[in-house]
Point group: C2
């Protein structure tokens, strides 16, 4: 499935979250990732994120769509997207 | 159409961008917004964002989908979503 993931975590946990998310998805901006991921890999990612996060302070929003071709992406301004993807 | 908007702008322009985006979409986290918006209103928003942004430093990513029911949203951790929506 196609996933857009945005996180908002306290600074001290940012590097861990960044490293983790880059193992599963493609970093596109600041704290935003996207990519194709299987349901089982997504479950694995969520479980690992929960282990890092403080549920009282941190937040992750996951948008998912079974058909990525339904989503259009438009970038305005500077493209910060990484070409790395460790899917 | 259904839109997810994420911005990454220099600190001095954050409050202007936040104020602008909240007039069109629903704030859901940090620099992330979502909502239903007409194509003409979206064009208006993009034009106003471009007036605020520095294209060499700032970035906005817009994901859009004509059918919002195709998107699933899952929140992990603290829900920071606002109930305000000035659409």
């Amino acid at each position: 499935m196609y996933v857009i993931l945005v996180y908002d975590v306290k600074e001290k946990r940012v590097s861990k979250m960044l490293k983790l998310c880059r193992m599963y998805l493609c970093w596109i901006q600041n704290s935003v990732f996207e990519g194709e991921i299987s349901e089982s890999k997504l479950k694995e990612l969520i479980s690992k994120m929960k282990a890092i996060m403080d549920a009282d302070e941190d937040s992750v929003i996951l948008f998912s769509n079974k058909m990525s071709y339904n989503m259009n992406k438009q970038i305005i301004g500077k493209e910060k997207m990484s070409t790395e993807n460790f899917l």
